[in-house]
């Protein structure tokens, strides 16, 4: 299974967890038709936390984080993001979405727009930022993800790793307070995984609140302050990374780790 080695030194000076609650999920349940996909999820995420969600496929990891910006609707329980409860109220949903960045497995860049237009679209149309300012912000983040020279190309002309870094930059241009990553490296070739993980690590070093669904256990060990293990729609175990990997408690976790770490 995938385990990219994290070789770089990580600067932990800004990686501080505050007492302020960023996301509060209480007794949340979700069904796809009759299939009970998320069962009694309780999760509190504080500002500055870096959480990795792991688990076998079909365990509801992606569905959980997709509930946090309401790409999926939950049927019972409560999700409060930055003090705003997610209900069917469209105003609240748009408010939460503009505060929460999301990075997808398949990048989902807009293929008919240039990289620059991809980055400035939401700031201009949602945040009403003047175009010039949006361009400057976009260029700043493109430099941050180290591909400023691609600004005027179209997504189809970029490699997968570059596209994913553009997707991260696109989210950052909205100045989000929380970032969600839905298997951001699963569609990438091994040599490109590293460049995307590097970008994510830099983000963590700056103190971004992050929730990552990923199979990259090296990333989890290096960056996460908490690992959550899910199976059959439930949170089975959560712990800080060292304990999680070296001293797993439940049988399910032990089995999963033995498979994924390939021992």
């Amino acid at each position: 299974m995938a385990e990219t080695q994290i070789e770089r030194q990580i600067d932990r000076s800004h990686m501080t967890v505050s007492d302020e609650v960023a996301i509060q999920i209480t007794a949340m349940n979700k069904w796809f038709g009759t299939f009970h996909v998320l069962r009694d999820i309780n999760l509190t995420v504080n500002r500055g936390e870096r959480i990795v969600i792991a688990g076998p496929s079909g365990s509801g990891k992606s569905t959980l984080i997709r509930c946090i910006n309401r790409l999926e609707e939950h049927q019972s329980g409560q999700i409060i993001v930055d003090g705003t409860e997610l209900t069917s109220d469209l105003k609240n949903i748009d408010k939460v979405r503009s505060e929460v960045g999301m990075v997808f497995q398949h990048f989902n860049l807009f293929p008919h727009l240039t990289i620059m237009e991809n980055l400035t679209l939401a700031p201009i149309w949602v945040r009403k930022v003047p175009k010039k300012e949006a361009d400057e912000v976009a260029m700043y983040y493109l430099e941050k993800v180290k591909i400023p020279e691609q600004a005027l190309k179209y997504p189809g002309q970029l490699s997968g790793g570059q596209q994913q870094r553009v997707a991260i930059a696109r989210s950052l241009c909205m100045k989000p307070r929380i970032m969600l990553f839905d298997e951001p490296t699963s569609a990438l070739d091994p040599e490109m995984i590293k460049e995307v993980l590097d970008t994510m690590i830099e983000l963590a070093e700056e103190g971004m609140t992050m929730i990552c669904v990923t199979h990259e256990m090296g990333f989890a060990q290096a960056v996460a302050n908490r690992v959550i293990f899910m199976d059959q729609g439930q949170i089975v175990e959560q712990n800080e990374p060292y304990e999680f990997f070296n001293n797993p408690q439940s049988e399910r976790t032990k089995l999963f780790l033995s498979q994924i770490l390939g021992h």
């Binding site: 790409l71 008919h112 679209l121 149309w125 189809g156 696109r170």
Partner: protein, 482 residues
């Protein structure tokens, strides 16, 4: 394995480049690859050659014996016989030479031929900011051809030298604007609908002006009520112009006519015919059906049950009945439902029906484009906080419409050809209506092929242009795999 065998090998001399064998270059290769690549291809080539030979052998003499100067079909035949001997047949293009104006203008008054001609020319100018914004060279070539056509045609249509000079000056000015800025002619695009209606039907200038001002009123209403929320402002933007058109215009029109009278000769709809009629209906149908079709496609994919049900019902109903039946409804039944004494223009009624008909097809084509978009595009738009309309406008529709271009243009081409069906409600379409009325005259009785070929060629020019434009657009919008 032998002791001498070794995997190691070093080339001592590099080989120079050599000419390819004869069978791999030039005409021979092209022939082999394209015409004789296998038994089936060889057979098809031979069969195709034979069919081509047969067609040329049968019809070439007929075309070669063409007669352009004659007063009647009988005269044509006499000339052919005199020139090519007994039993020879020849095309009698004299009918086109004599009656071309019928095919083009129907019974439109001869002294006003310049009006529909200018309307058609200006149509291309008005469309330039939308259709040819991207490439200056294409824009200038197209507009240059149109301007040259107008300047050549106008003296022939009996326009005086002074007026022609004015036209030349106006065209030159517009060409300069189109040269300097891609969107420079957008003002013309804005006023064109009113301008075209006025030039085609004539009458008081205030009718079209006041009708067009409805859009300005709607925009003003939207601006004024914008801060009270989307529903209210959209409602105001729709209701105010509708109320203006239904009740306001007829109150105000006499006032304007009395204070500042300005009008040109009115031409009644019954006088329209030929390609003036086909183009009027076709262009109006194309321009109106695209937005309606897009809205229907979005409605059909809506989560709101009522909206969706209405869209599905409308689309399936329209697609389920023949266009002719809708045209009959327009021409006959509508009169029973409307209050007595209302004079609801027949061409307007036909345009409405043709538009609705095309819109239903466009809706399905666009729905196909929408369905082809990956779900991730919608999710990315959502996750960035774009609301429904912004996501549709900025992300979804540009991509979906691009995918739908071939289907949309096919629908337009089909609709343009279907405008000939208006013959069944008594309008003089170029294909049957005009042809029949030309042939009804004593001189041209018996000329069958020539009018049809002529009308077919003109239709072909328009439709082929649309087809080429759609291919150009597809190429221009291609963004992936560069």
């Amino acid at each position: 394995m032998s002791e001498h065998h070794s995997a190691a090998y070093v080339r001592s001399a590099m080989l120079p480049e050599q000419a390819p064998p004869v069978s791999e270059i030039g005409v021979i290769r092209w022939l082999r690859e394209n015409l004789f690549s296998g038994p089936l291809n060889t057979f098809l080539t031979l069969a195709g050659s034979f069919i081509l030979y047969f067609l040329v052998k049968e019809y070439y003499p007929w075309l070669r014996h063409s007669v352009w100067h004659a007063g009647s079909v009988g005269e044509c035949r006499d000339i052919v016989t005199a020139t090519w001997g007994e039993g020879a047949t020849g095309a009698c293009w004299a009918i086109i030479r004599d009656r071309w104006n019928m095919f083009m203008f129907g019974f439109y008054p001869r002294e006003h031929y310049w009006r529909p001609t200018l309307a058609l020319g200006l149509l291309i100018f008005a469309a330039a900011p939308v259709l040819f914004a991207e490439s200056r060279s294409i824009r200038m070539v197209v507009l240059g051809i149109v301007a040259a056509f107008l300047l050549v045609a106008f003296p022939g249509l009996g326009v005086g030298a002074a007026a022609n000079l004015m036209l030349a000056a106006a065209l030159a000015a517009m060409l300069v604007v189109a040269w300097s800025r891609p969107w420079g002619l957008l003002w013309l695009t804005g006023i064109y609908p009113g301008l075209a209606v006025w030039m085609l039907w004539g009458g008081s200038v205030w009718g079209p002006v006041l009708a067009m001002s409805g859009f300005v009123l709607g925009w003003a209403a939207w601006l004024a009520t914008r801060r009270f929320g989307t529903i209210l402002s959209v409602g105001a933007a729709v209701l105010v112009p509708v109320a203006w058109w239904l009740f306001g215009v007829e109150q105000v029109l006499p006032l304007f006519d009395a204070v500042l009278p300005y009008s040109i000769d009115a031409v009644r709809s019954e006088k329209f015919g030929g390609f003036v009629l086909a183009l009027t209906i076709g262009v109006a149908g194309i321009v109106l059906s695209l937005p309606i079709g897009v809205v229907l496609a979005l409605a059909r994919r809506s989560d709101m049950l009522l909206v969706k049900a209405l869209a599905v019902g409308f689309i399936e109903f329209i697609r389920g009945v023949p266009l002719i039946s809708l045209l009959f409804v327009a021409s006959l039944l509508l009169n029973y439902f409307l209050p007595p004494g209302t004079n609801f223009d027949i061409i307007l009624r036909v345009i409405i029906m043709v538009t609705l008909f095309a819109a239903a097809y466009i809706a399905e084509v666009v729905r196909g484009g929408l369905a082809a978009l990956p779900r991730g595009q919608f999710e990315a738009a959502d996750s960035l906080g774009l609301d429904y309309w912004k996501a549709q406008r900025l992300i979804v529709l540009p991509q979906a419409l691009k995918i739908s271009i071939p289907g949309i243009v096919s629908t337009f081409i089909g609709m343009f050809k279907d405008t000939t069906l208006v013959v069944f409600v008594g309008l003089l379409d170029p294909l049957k209506g005009i042809t029949d009325s030309v042939r009804a005259s004593f001189e041209w009785k018996g000329a069958y092929w020539e009018p049809y070929i002529f009308v077919g060629c003109i239709f072909f020019i328009f439709n082929f242009s649309m087809s080429r434009y759609s291919m150009y657009l597809e190429r221009r919008l291609k963004r992936d795999h560069r």
